[in-house]
């Protein structure tokens, strides 16, 4: 098959930064468009643990070769990390991309631009890699 067609099967689903099961994080990058996707544990981990993982993941994701965890994740392209579970408890760094928001957000529009305001943290919605993402920003 066309290289790109084959790649599209995998698109936006790759490569990882899972540290421990409790911080079950997957940094999944596309075949060409890197995205780090946090893996929401299937059970047994509370929101706080997940949030912690989100931040930990964010740090690891942002600085790929961080010494915080074991192996450095492999990215196929310079990633804008995407975190599947939202950082709930801590203010995430500007530029962090999440695939889901913490609860209790409200939508707003400032100068014609849409934002989600989650307890004072502003997320800008956008579509990328076949899914809706939110990037932490300053309005």
């Amino acid at each position: 098959m066309n290289r790109k067609t084959v790649a599209a099967f995998l698109s936006a689903a790759l490569i990882a930064s899972v540290a421990t099961p409790a911080r079950a994080w997957v940094a999944a990058g596309g075949w060409h468009g890197g995205v780090a996707v946090g893996y929401h544990p299937p059970c047994c981990y509370g929101g706080a643990a997940v949030a912690g993982a989100a931040i930990g993941g964010a740090m690891v994701g942002a600085a790929v070769a961080s010494t915080a965890y074991r192996p450095a994740p492999v990215y196929y392209a310079a990633p804008a990390p995407v975190y599947y579970a939202a950082p709930v408890m801590y203010a995430p760094p500007i530029g962090t991309v999440v695939a889901s928001l913490p609860p209790g957000c409200s939508s707003m529009s400032i100068n014609g631009v849409s934002y989600m305001n989650c307890a004072g943290v502003f997320y800008m919605p956008f579509y990328s890699g076949g899914a809706l993402m939110y990037q932490v920003t300053t309005p």
Partner: protein, 280 residues
């Protein structure tokens, strides 16, 4: 040199070439036959184990497999419109070497040559796509946001754009395109028949293909309707060799597609946001 001389020289050259050709054929015959003749002589002179006849190696691209792939392609091409369901399971390796699976269920409607609708639900890709011949819209029903981009005039160009520039995962794209066979066989180095399999009570033929970066398999229904029922791709160059598995079902090659299926109407209160390209 006069003209007749030139003609004679030319004829001589031709004759030499023909002789050389005959010698070539003769040499080939010698080399082709020689091993058999030599072994026959050897077994006559001293005892060796009875030679086992080795069947000729099958061709790298088995003709019967290609024929069935063509038949599938022709069937899909013959349908002016069709619908089906795809369940995609993407393996995602973690750095601990543990594989995680993310599953998406998609319902796809196609009307050739320029309309596509995909509704996806699942772990990660929860969004619908509308292509109406002019515009592609992406909308996650979990949100009040949609994205749009101008689209080329055909399904092929539009899907290629979505995959190339928007990094949109479309594992079923090849089935929607104008020439599925040509698309799928591009870069294929080997193709073989791996036997029959039952999928949802239907007998399918299981084919395996290899390419430079990926190996893939397809299961095609036996009989008069050679529909694809399952696909599997192994990314052998990616660490952990993750796989993407696609189960295809609910094929309808003469569907009644509701009016407006391919036209996106923004829900009340929905706002348009950026749809980012990952490549220019």
């Amino acid at each position: 040199m006069t003209a007749p001389h030139r003609k004679e020289a030319f004829l001589n050259t031709l004759i030499r070439m023909r002789v050389a050709g005959s010698i070539g054929v003769f040499a080939l015959t010698i080399f082709g036959i020689a091993p058999a003749a030599a072994s026959a002589q050897t077994s006559a002179s001293r005892p060796v184990p009875t030679p086992v006849a080795t069947p000729a190696a099958p061709p790298a691209l088995e003709p019967a497999v290609l024929d069935r792939m063509k038949a599938m392609s022709e069937l899909l091409k013959s349908a002016g419109s069709f619908t089906f369901k795809a369940i995609t399971d993407r393996e995602t390796p973690s750095v601990d070497g543990q594989m995680l699976d993310f599953v998406t269920v998609s319902r796809v409607s196609v009307e050739r040559p320029n309309r596509v609708r995909v509704d996806s639900d699942g772990d990660r890709f929860v969004a619908s796509l509308w292509y109406d011949g002019k515009t592609v819209t992406i909308f996650s029903k979990k949100s009040a946001y949609y994205g749009q981009t101008p689209a080329p005039a055909t399904i092929d160009e539009t899907l290629q754009m979505l995959m190339d520039r928007f990094d949109t995962p479309l594992p079923v794209a090849v089935f929607l395109m104008k020439e599925p066979y040509a698309r799928m066989m591009e870069g294929v180095k080997t193709a073989f028949d791996a036997g029959t399999a039952q999928i949802d009570g239907v007998t399918c033929r299981h084919f395996a293909f290899s390419e430079e970066d990926a190996d893939w398999q397809i299961w095609i229904e036996e009989g008069a309707k050679p529909l694809p029922r399952r696909m599997a791709v192994t990314y052998k160059r990616v660490p952990g060799a993750p796989r993407v598995l696609v189960a295809l079902s609910d094929w309808n090659l003469s569907p009644t597609i509701p009016a407006g299926e391919f036209t996106f109407t923004p829900p009340p209160g929905a706002t348009k946001v950026d749809w980012k390209t990952t490549r220019p």
